[in-house]
């Protein structure tokens, strides 16, 4: 259930410019409005893109959060690979990884 809440936070953040501004100003305040585990909360606040991926956040939501955090595309992909290296395989959702962590498929 809390993957749903975690994903919803990122979904709403992606859609809403006012929320983005408020998130930049006080991320802890925004995050407190969602029922998250400690690990999920920390993954957002750090931000730990790799851990968010491992927690099961859909890449179609996650890639925009990465862009919001100023993370460039190739770096975004690399952080997911590093996340799997560090935290192990994807735990939930439909986005399990199918290539090896050292493979750079798109050249990116």
């Amino acid at each position: 259930m809390s993957l749903y809440q975690l994903s919803k936070l990122l979904y709403e953040l992606n859609r809403d410019d006012t929320l983005k501004t408020r998130f930049r100003a006080d991320p802890r305040d925004i995050v407190s409005g969602y029922t998250l585990s400690e690990e999920e909360r920390e993954a957002i606040l750090r931000p730990d893109i790799g851990l968010l991926y491992v927690l099961g956040v859909n890449g179609q939501i996650l890639m925009h959060f990465a862009a919001l955090c100023g993370i460039e595309w190739s770096d975004y992909l690399q952080r997911m690979r590093d996340g799997v290296k560090q935290h192990g395989p994807v735990r939930a959702g439909i986005y399990a990884m199918t290539t090896s962590v050292d493979e750079k498929i798109s050249g990116a």
Binding site: M63, M97, G107, A108
Partner: protein
């Protein structure tokens, strides 16, 4: 009046957003065929174009995830993404409220489509429009098939949706064009981004070109996920476009471009 055009194309955000990072000859060839498709579409003189997308959590989320949706507004804005990230400027696309209402009422006879009085286009619609309607001239009716959050709608219902859109298009006085847009195999926005299963894609496009309904509907989601990735679920949009057209398809372009994260595809269908 009738359905006057049915085609399909890719919509990956890398096509515009990471254009400079692709091999120039591959990018140029793709863009040229998009230009051809634009010419074909406009030659059909459509009064409105239905874009069947597979949007990516821009408007629809698991709090209320419709299997099928149609827009019902006088206008739509997009892209919802950062315009610099996508390399597509913001626009306000024209809609047609009355036409939407008439199409939805007819589609509802057989397919239980959600209606949306607002809708913000993501790359799934903006990338096609960027190439097919660069001057923001067309009237657009957005349509959506949930290809993202399971449980996903069965393929035979995607076919039914295409048939319903065809029936609806034939029932209104306007000339209606339709564009289905989705990936075939791809693993977008994941570490596997850039993986493309060309053999699987070509096999799907073969079934699609033959207008072979049974073969197109024969995939299970488990197979599609294994062979085509989660992006492969978007074959539903190609299937709906084929059902609406009813005829054989022609693939004008197919080229895997890993930095675009998809086998870039453009095709048109015979309306029968």
């Amino acid at each position: 009046m009738s359905l006057v055009f049915s085609g399909v194309c890719s919509h990956a955000p890398g096509i515009t957003g990471r254009a400079a990072r692709a091999p120039a000859d591959q990018k140029d060839a793709l863009y040229a065929v998009f230009d051809d498709m634009r010419a074909r579409l406009h030659a059909a003189r459509p009064d409105a174009v239905i874009v069947i997308a597979a949007e990516h959590f821009a408007n629809f989320f698991m709090n209320n995830m419709p299997a099928y949706a149609l827009g019902m507004s006088e206008s739509y804005e997009g892209p919802i993404e950062d315009p610099e990230w996508l390399a597509i400027p913001k626009r306000k696309a024209r809609g047609d409220l009355s036409l939407s209402q008439r199409l939805i009422s007819e589609v509802q006879q057989t397919v239980d489509v959600a209606f949306c009085e607002e809708w913000r286009f993501d790359h799934g619609i903006m990338v096609p429009l960027h190439f097919l309607d660069p001057h923001n001239e067309l009237i657009v009716i957005p349509a959506n098939i949930n290809c993202q959050g399971p449980p996903l709608t069965p393929l035979h219902r995607a076919w039914a949706f295409g048939e319903a859109l065809r029936r609806a298009a034939d029932a209104v006085p306007e000339r209606i064009a339709l564009v289905g847009t989705g990936g075939i195999s791809h693993w977008p926005a994941t570490p596997d981004s850039g993986r493309i299963n060309e053999a699987w894609d070509r096999d799907f496009l073969d079934r699609w070109s033959r207008g072979d309904k049974d073969a197109m509907l024969a995939y299970t989601d488990t197979e599609t996920y294994a062979e085509g990735g989660q992006g492969g679920f978007e074959i539903r949009t190609f299937i709906a476009a084929a059902a609406a057209a009813g005829g054989k398809g022609t693939v004008h372009h197919y080229q895997p471009i890993p930095i675009f994260a998809v086998g870039c595809t453009i095709g048109t269908l015979e309306i029968v």
